[in-house]
Symmetry: C2
Subunit: 203 residues, 2 copies
């Protein structure tokens, strides 16, 4: 009689998003299609009118609005995020267009377990408006990066990157659209690798 | 009767190199093969035992050794370079592995007409040991850049770039070899574009 190994339990993700949510949607779709051994436990968003909330509804994923304007400090806001993540039994946190500075309150609750998507080939063009920065610098190639979040902005260990050409007539919008196609791909790639490592670790 | 336009005269290049000369050789070969409307008027090298000198001999290109150790200052060294370039009627200067800091003496003699090859996707990893810097930073993608030389190190306008994957087992040598294949390609591409622009300008 041979032992049948139990199917690994899916990686329990919490997604933080501020805006349109195209990366959230790409992730939800990949999970629904069986591409990723993961599930999104909860979406946390901070702008009441962020389109990402409708996307969560569409995919029947619980969503929680935490409006940073209602918290006295970054730390108290992050404490509310941590509480929500724990309530939904989140193991890994995915920042997909999360436009807030992260404090040690969140970092220490999920050490080495928070990933961020940044629309440049880090270490080039850290911080806000990375696509505009790349256009202003006149680079011919830019891209996107998935990295672990650490206290220093856009500087944690890199998990995945993709290169994207800058075309002569690009505007921030056309270039960002081209980058986003690659963002979806490397976000899925990074989460697949994390899920595979978790299985190894738990054996 | 239609007028037959005269064939454009080839772009007269001077190459500065310090080392192995693989980019010099790639350029010489492309010119010999009729790929580029350019010719190398002279190679200037600064290390008596630089292998690039043999390459020049092989391609029957004049080469001049200017040993920086024999000059009292960076400026006097650059003045000797300018004199040599002018003697050989050089129009555009190509730094292909030139390991010396450039002074305004050379920059002002060839304003906006000096190009440099750098083994990273600028603005990432300026300065020395760019390949080692990329490995230390843990990036998944690096590359190379052809740019105009200005007074600020590795910061002039970008003419061409190429992306190169970093593989898990890469050493500086294996990664640099992969980058060099792309260096040869974008150096030729940049010079072809300059030659095409010169023709437009002269019409």
């Amino acid at each position: 009689m041979s032992e049948v190994p139990a199917a690994p339990s899916p990686l329990r993700l919490g997604v933080l998003a501020s805006g349109n949510g195209s990366n959230f949607a790409a992730l939800a779709e990949a999970i629904a299609g069986g591409e990723l051994a993961a599930q999104i436990q909860v979406l946390i968003y901070n702008n009441p009118d962020a389109p990402v909330a409708q996307r969560a509804q569409q995919w029947q994923i619980p969503s929680v609005l935490l409006n940073h304007r209602h918290y006295p400090s970054r730390e108290s806001f992050d404490a509310a995020i941590v509480e929500t993540l724990k309530t939904y039994a989140v193991e890994w946190v995915v920042m997909a267009g999360w436009m807030r500075i992260v404090t040690p309150v969140l970092l220490s609750a999920y050490p080495q377990r928070i990933i961020n998507l940044h629309p440049s080939l880090l270490p080039s063009f850290r911080g806000l408006h990375a696509v505009e920065q790349a256009l202003a610098a006149g680079v011919k190639i830019t891209g996107c990066t998935v990295h672990l979040v650490t206290e220093e902005l856009d500087s944690g260990p890199i998990l995945a990157q993709a290169a994207v050409p800058v075309l002569p007539d690009d505007t921030p919008a056309t270039l960002h659209a081209r980058i986003q196609v690659q963002e979806h791909r490397i976000l899925k790639q990074a989460i697949a690798e994390i899920a595979a490592q978790q299985v190894q670790v738990s054996r």
